[in-house]
Amino acid sequence: MQLWVYVVRRLLLLIPILIGVLTILFGIISALPLTDRIAAELGTGHGGRPITPQIPCTNTTASAPIPSVSSNTSLTTPASTSALCTNPDWQPALDKLGFNLPIPVQWAIYVYNGLTFNWGHTAPGSFMSNLIGEEGKSLPVTTVLSWYLPFTIQLALLSLLFILVLSIPLGNYSAVFRNRPLDQGTRIMSFSGYALASFLLASLVLIAAVELLGGATATVCGSSVFNLVYGSWPFQLSTCYPVTSYPWVGTHVFAPTSPTGFPIVDSLIHGQWSLALSVFSRLILPALSIAYLSVAGILRYVRNSMLEVMNQDYIRTARAKGVPESSVIRKHAGRNSLTVTVAVLGLTFAAFIGGFPVIEEVFGLDGIGKVLIWSILPNYDYGMIFGTTILFTIIVVVANVMVDVIQAYLDPRIRLG
């Protein structure tokens, strides 16, 4: 079939998967005690635990503050109608939020909200809101995520680039030179990448980088060497980058960059080459760490798929035609084993993106991983936790769709199905 038909069909499959994931989250959420989340949702006190289980029944006439909460149920509020002693003034809000409805209806509302990007609000008073400097306010989860998403996407793209550049040639040539030194070397690389925990590798890389650049106490252009490799933004604008103000850059109290939200792109748009370069340079080490860890899993598959391809008849035909060996490897074999490589990338994408919180934490980068980590500090911000999880899942699913499309483009036999 035509390529675009395949693309459309594949895109349509997105929806059921998202519904499935939302269902899973719905199931998980149902395990949360009701009180925790009412309080978290309505923003009383601090978000999440610990919170006293009893919410006193008072007959106050003043209604509890209901900060800017949308009228639809959010991602954090399915629950039973179990009667705990709650503030009777909250009852209308509870009804509006759907606590009284039967479970299938709650599920439907939940899924609907999930699909329409109606993910609730952050809990004021949680660590999360400290991060974004909005202690008193409650922002929609999607807004906060949209600020941080571009940072993660930058890192993801760079990591993917490194992964492809590392795994494809290494895997292919390991297969061609089977059991020779290159193969043994890549085998060691793949083992070590697998056996090292992500946080260990990242920490060691960071420490090594700082030591190599002159040690913890060295300074470059007036700011510590540490700041060259750590963090998202140049917190200390040193003498090397003599710029006075970036009105469009959020530094300590976070605000998204304008106009696109992607820091590197925006820096380039505003003509701040050095800023763009410094942001980019802070991405290199984390991307390399992620790539090293991911390549460990992929390399074996690339190698094995290349081995299989090299044993095929059409390779023999190409050689018999007189095609030079380098072209045989590159063109005939490479194209065919690329399909499997791409497939494996798709399969490991979930693990790839799951490693982001750790790496972002170690290297101090902004991004949705960091947001997740701040939300799971005590005083959980359930809205944020679930919102982030859904966002990660969407990324994985979209990536899988793209992988399928690329596969179909590369290998025309796939389009038959």
Binding site: V21, L32, L196, L347, G354, G364, I376, L377
Partner: protein, 376 residues
């Protein structure tokens, strides 16, 4: 010779019936032996098995000890710098920044003074503070060697338990999907796809966080149960997928068709033919997973989630994760590397690394030995 079953047996009267499975295993072992890396892996695995058994008989002892003094940094980490000249030190809890020559006290229990540490060769460095635990359920360990040995008990048990549960569920579902085909197959595979779309780490995190306030899960065994449940829910899809693809291949084989033609029912076919022949890739995957689970637990602890009832728990991944919390990395560069308790990172890290490497070598060698396409 006449046979006694009256059917005219085709078996030879003497000698063994050739057992192809045994031959295959012998051949696999032969190929495995030729693979140096795989043998290193097997050796290390044997070492870990011995460690595991030993850990049940090992009791941490806090006998002849010397008191250390040092700086109290960042919460509960204590960095000893020298042997105390004064045998008694006091340190008022709750005050920062670090003051030299402080005592070791338990912030939960101010009247408690920590035992000092023996200088026996298996010391491996003083422990992180919280391991002198006051939680009655949590195991006690005094130094890093204790931590590693006792850690083997926890790490290996938990990994094996998780993998066992995940693999069983996966095997069951995968075999069902592969054999039934049609709607059941579709349903199971779609569910698998859904679960695989959520990144592992996140799902486990969310489950742990959500299940924490539930009261039955607050004791040590409860925590272990939460871990096992959380990981199994994340892990079963991998096995389902592997088993199903293998089952689909096996079910097309001629011997299955022959068995069916001679009247065997589905259960018997499943039991005797399909499942035994589908198990090999599962073994490979099991070996890999056992190695990586402690790493993930470490990552979770690193991110700050309270998995265990105490801040520091003897389990390799937890020890490593607790030692490299992000605060410490930042502190490293503000205060320099001198006060960093490197042994708290190094020994658990090395153990994790060796464990993961050993299973990886082994499973890789196993896979190469079993792969018919590699044209041996």
């Amino acid at each position: 010779m006449a046979s006694s079953n009256g059917e005219g047996s085709a078996l030879p009267a003497r000698g063994r019936r050739p057992n192809p499975r045994l031959d295959q295993m012998k051949r696999t072992w032969y190929l495995l032996r030729k693979n140096t890396l795989a043998m290193i892996g097997v050796g290390l695995l044997v070492f870990f098995a011995v460690l595991f058994v030993a850990s049940f008989f090992y009791h941490a002892s806090a006998t002849t000890m010397t008191q250390y003094c040092g700086t109290y940094y960042s919460g509960y980490q204590f960095y000893p710098t020298s042997v105390c000249q004064n045998p008694i030190c006091t340190y008022p809890p709750g005050s920062l920044p670090p003051v030299a020559n402080c005592y070791l006290t338990d912030p939960n229990n101010p009247s408690f003074v920590a035992p000092t540490f023996s200088l026996s060769p298996f010391h491996l460095g003083p422990l992180p503070f919280g391991s002198l635990s006051t939680d009655p359920g949590a195991p006690v360990f005094y130094n890093m060697f204790d931590g590693i040995v006792k850690g083997s008990e926890w790490s290996i048990t938990i990994s094996v338990a998780i993998v066992a549960v995940g693999a069983s569920v996966g095997l069951l579902l995968g075999a069902t999907a592969g054999v039934s085909g049609g709607l059941v197959d579709e349903a199971i595979m779609r569910t698998t796809d859904i679960f695989l779309s959520v990144p592992q780490l996140l799902l486990v995190l969310v489950l742990i966080i959500v299940l924490e306030p539930v009261s039955i899960f607050s004791s040590l065994s409860g925590r272990v149960a939460v871990l096992i449940i959380g990981f199994s829910i994340t892990w079963w899809p991998f096995y389902t997928r592997i088993v199903r693809s293998q089952v689909v291949v096996v079910r097309e084989q001629k011997y299955v068709e022959a068995a069916r033609a001679s009247g065997a029912g589905t259960g018997r076919i499943l039991r005797k033919h399909i499942i035994p022949n589908s198990l090999f890739p599962v073994f490979v995957q099991i070996a890999l997973d056992v190695g990586s689970i402690p790493l993930i637990i470490g990552a979770i602890i690193f991110l700050g989630v309270q998995v265990w009832p105490t801040p520091v728990f003897p389990e390799w991944g937890s020890l490593a994760g607790a030692s490299v919390s992000s605060q410490i990395v930042g502190d490293l560069f503000l205060g320099g590397v001198t006060y960093y308790p490197w042994w708290q990172l190094f020994f658990p890290g090395i153990t994790l690394f060796l464990f993961a490497i050993s299973v990886n070598f082994f499973s890789d060698g196993l896979r190469d030995a079993l792969d018919p396409r590699l044209r041996r």
